[in-house]
């Protein structure tokens, strides 16, 4: 039965069956071939209860929040400001890429959206100022990946929903590792560009007056982030309520910049429904498969199978980490995460690890999958916005950042408190 599920999933995905449909079909198969109970009778109720959710509506709300802010030109202004603050560092604008991606991650729940936004704003600058585009583009792909670690994060909401983990705790747990990783990205950029200045571009200095003049442009993003996180942290609002407040604030900011037009709103709403439906189809499929796996006892069989190796908790954890790194080369990240959660998380919990902590570790691994070839969505997104050169340039440029992520994985395992420090119990 273990082989049925893993091989079946691999075959369906290889045939390019949509991931959500593949998960459903595996569930149907379990019912047909392995279950004593008629699981299909629960199908309708399962699908209904996974869609009718006050928690999950946070997903479209956070997507909408990001969509509105992008169209208000927030990214351009943030980028110009961070340029004046960071361009004196070795690596120059590359730091502005990372900084803008970090700021934008803090209001956007999606890595792909973050990478796409920053790439659109930043790539023209790389051309204008004659940067080596490899590191420049790699930094955008990696910085964008922060979108799912720094709250709000769609992936953390999905993880919380599927594993019944507190989303506020997950959000809080993501902040320190996310900021540490952004810092790590900047350090490695500075180191590389000190050793090999030709990998970066011209360092430029700005006057303090110029730097100060830009600061007001950072206020909207920081304010949205502070209110969302503050209200969740203090328990004053649920993630969904915080998301709704965020949408209202984003509308206010867009109105301030004169960006609430019919065309903008239409595009933002359509984009939101498209992204939400794409994510939800996979979630609903995973939810049903989860139910089928539980009912047929596969979860227990798999745990027993793995425990049979006698590797101990950390040995098992290493196997799981390696599995994600390898699968991450080939499988699209959302699919990878959602399809594996029902199987992997119960095992990890059984080994005695913390659910919140593992959620953060999983996200870092997923971020790595986003920027490792051949299938790394962020690489494609950045290359798409670049419209010149070769995809392999972006892949090469992303390698130093993959290294930082590996270090982060190690740190999280060695010092779990990095994630758990600010996660209230």
């Amino acid at each position: 039965m273990i082989w049925y599920v893993s091989i079946g999933l691999a075959v369906l995905l290889a045939l390019s069956v949509p991931v959500g449909a593949a998960l459903f079909i595996l569930g149907f198969g379990l019912d047909q071939f392995f279950s004593q109970m008629p699981l299909m009778r629960g199908l309708g109720q399962m699908v209904y209860s996974s869609s009718d959710s006050f928690l999950l509506i946070a997903i479209p709300l956070f997507v909408l929040l990001g969509e509105i802010l992008v169209r208000a030109g927030i990214a351009e202004r943030t980028y110009a400001t961070l340029d004046t603050w960071f361009s004196w560092l070795p690596g120059g604008l590359v730091h502005a890429n990372i900084g803008t991606a970090t700021m934008f991650s803090a209001t956007s729940g999606s890595s792909v959206a973050t990478a796409a936004t920053v790439a659109t704003v930043a790539m023209p600058q790389a051309r204008k100022q004659g940067y080596d585009q490899r590191l420049f583009a790699g930094a955008i792909a990696a910085g964008g990946a922060l979108g799912i670690l720094l709250p709000p994060s769609i992936n953390l909401i999905v993880y919380g929903f599927l594993t019944q983990t507190s989303v506020p705790q997950l959000f809080m747990a993501g902040i320190v590792p996310g900021l540490l990783m952004a810092l790590g990205f900047m350090i490695i950029t500075a180191v590389i560009c000190t050793i090999k200045p030709e990998w970066g571009g011209p360092s430029r200095s700005f006057t303090w007056a110029e730097r100060m003049a830009g600061l007001p442009h950072l206020i909207p993003v920081l304010m949205v982030f502070a209110i969302i996180i503050g209200s969740i942290y203090t328990g004053w609002a649920t993630p969904t309520e915080a998301a709704a407040i965020g949408v209202v604030m984003a509308l206010g900011i867009a109105a301030f910049y004169g960006a609430v037009t019919w065309a903008n709103m239409r595009a933002a709403l359509l984009g939101t429904i498209r992204t939400t439906s794409m994510v939800m189809f996979v979630i609903v499929g995973a939810y049903f498969l989860n139910f089928a796996l539980g009912a047929t006892g596969l979860n227990r069989a798999l745990s027993g199978f793995l425990e049979g190796f006698g590797l101990g908790p950390y040995g098992m954890l290493m196997i799981i980490v390696l599995m994600y790194i390898v699968l991450g080369f080939f499988i699209e990240t959302l699919a990878l995460m959602i399809a594996t959660i029902p199987i992997v998380v119960p095992i990890v919990i059984g080994l005695g690890f913390d659910k919140v902590w593992f959620g953060i570790l999983l996200i870092v691994l997923i971020e790595m999958a986003l920027i490792t070839p051949p299938v790394g969505l962020n690489l494609y997104v950045v290359q798409g916005a670049r419209k010149e050169g070769r995809l392999s340039d972006v892949m090469v440029g992303a390698i130093p950042f993959v290294f930082v992520m590996l270090v982060m994985v190690g740190l999280l395992i060695a010092f779990p408190s990095i994630a758990l420090l600010f996660a209230p119990g």
Binding site: L12, A14, S16, V17, P18, V19, G20, A21, A22, F24, I25, F28, M40, L43, G44, V47, Y48, S51, D52, S53, F54, L56, I57, P60, L61, L64, S110, A116, A237, T240, E241, A244, I245, V247, V248, R266, L269, L270, G271, T272, I273, R274, T275, T276, S277, M278, M280, F281, F330, I331, E332, L334, P374, V375, L377, Y380, V381, V382, Q383, A385
Partner: protein, 192 residues
């Protein structure tokens, strides 16, 4: 224009109409989402100013989520936004790709039919028992469920039509048109 050109053009007209219809549905979904935002805000502000409180925002937003996600599935389908792995797909010749596109649409149709079938059971049971939600609002459950069931039924229609058109265009060997309606889009940075 040959007869087959005319048939292909007619097929594309149907595909275009399906897309337009789904875009309007998606816009309606987006508008309903904005209504949910307003509703949730009355709840949040209602904690400070009890006069604003309507109550039941969480329950009603859940119904909104069930409605917009389900009806949005079809929109995502015509926009080719559902996640598919193209590892093998993009290494095949056009005919092979068209065959995989047909397999993909057929699998979506299978899922839509089975879920819609069982979704109808859920709806019929709520109707027969007159079930109401176990909350102060006491909403008759058939109301949100009929919208939700409708979304799955519409998914049967959309995926069925798309599948038919894709098979038809493949038989006419108009692979460039198959690509337009059923293939995996090349990543351009405009996704999401």
């Amino acid at each position: 224009m040959t007869g087959s050109d005319r048939l292909a053009a007619r097929a594309m007209q149907i595909a275009e109409a399906l897309r337009t219809a789904n875009r309007w549905i998606a816009l309606l979904c987006g508008t309903v989402l904005l209504v949910a935002v307003a509703l949730i805000m009355t709840e949040v502000l209602g904690r400070q100013f009890p006069a604003m409180r309507i109550g039941g925002a969480d329950e009603l937003s859940g119904y909104v989520m069930a409605a917009i996600a389900t009806w949005g599935f079809s929109y995502a389908l015509v926009e080719r936004a559902h996640v598919r792995i193209d590892l093998i797909h993009n290494r095949l010749p056009v005919l092979g790709r068209a065959v995989l596109d047909i397999v993909a649409l057929a699998s979506v149709l299978l899922v839509a039919v089975l879920v819609a079938w069982h979704a109808y059971d859920v709806l019929a049971k709520s109707l027969a028992r007159g079930s109401r939600s176990n909350t102060p609002l006491g909403v008759p459950l058939w109301m949100p469920q009929v919208v939700w069931f409708g979304g799955w039924a519409w998914m049967v229609v959309t995926s069925g039509l798309l599948l038919g058109l894709t098979v038809f265009l493949t038989a006419l060997r108009r692979f460039e048109l198959v690509e337009q309606i059923a293939s995996i889009p090349v990543e351009t940075g405009e996704v999401e």
